[in-house]
């Protein structure tokens, strides 16, 4: 696994750059990850990210946009507003989680 430096810290990532060790993530890192892809985190981003982290800890899988809506309570439209164009991948990236595997 490649190691890269984000916000002055060394973290393990996959070939694409998604973090592979959820334990290396914390909230200050999230802000740096978000900034790297041009997103400034608001309270609503944080609520979503905290849901993703908690859900991953429970399920062992990254929530899809469908699950973020039905279980996390953030409507699809809002997900697209918070993480434009490619919400599923961008949310996972900022939350330091693997890309979601689910199709829906």
């Amino acid at each position: 696994m490649p190691v890269t430096t984000i916000d002055g810290r060394e973290v393990h990532v996959d070939a694409e750059g998604f973090m592979t060790d959820p334990a290396e993530w914390d909230e200050s890192l999230a802000a740096a990850l978000a900034a790297a892809i041009g997103i400034e985190l608001t309270d609503r981003h944080w609520e979503l990210l905290r849901f993703l982290r908690a859900d991953f800890a429970e399920q062992g899988e990254t929530a899809t946009t469908r699950r973020v809506q039905t279980v996390g309570g953030v409507p699809t439209k809002e997900q697209f507003a918070l993480f434009p164009k490619k919400p599923a991948k961008k949310m996972a990236y900022v939350a330091g989680l693997p890309k979601p595997k689910g199709c829906v």
Binding site: G17, F18, A32
Partner: protein
Amino acid sequence: MTVPEIRPSFDDDATEGRKLAIICSKGNLDMAYPGLILGNAALGEGVETHLFFTFWGFDMITRSRMDDLKFTPVGNTATHMPMGLTPLPGMTTMATRQMRRSLAELDIPPVRDFLEQIVAAGGHLWACRLSADMNKLTEADLYEEVEGIISASDFIELTEGAQLLFI
């Protein structure tokens, strides 16, 4: 702030201008899903997506039918049932119930909810003019998020340059 050296390339600009047109021509429960799943996936990748509902696919957006699509093993060898058994009474009802259950277990939404999600993700739904005329249906009979009843030429025109899927 250090910028990560390895960072996913989300390629937002590369997707700019990419379009997908999906023609949904089937009204069976099982054949409703490929278009919905692929359309939803395309939207999640930032691709402008248009779905055109025509012929039997019209059932997917007809209010009185969209919640009641069915799956039948009749004539479908991929179910691996003895074909002589498939037309027995109750078989379609049973197969439909089974399929709905399998989809729900995977949190795949019912057709109406799926269309709602597609629209929320920025997708466009279009109804076929000829299908509406043949079935004597108007916009009032259709799912409220359908943007319009349009002709085949209109659809071809508005999906200029799009990649196309016929289902």
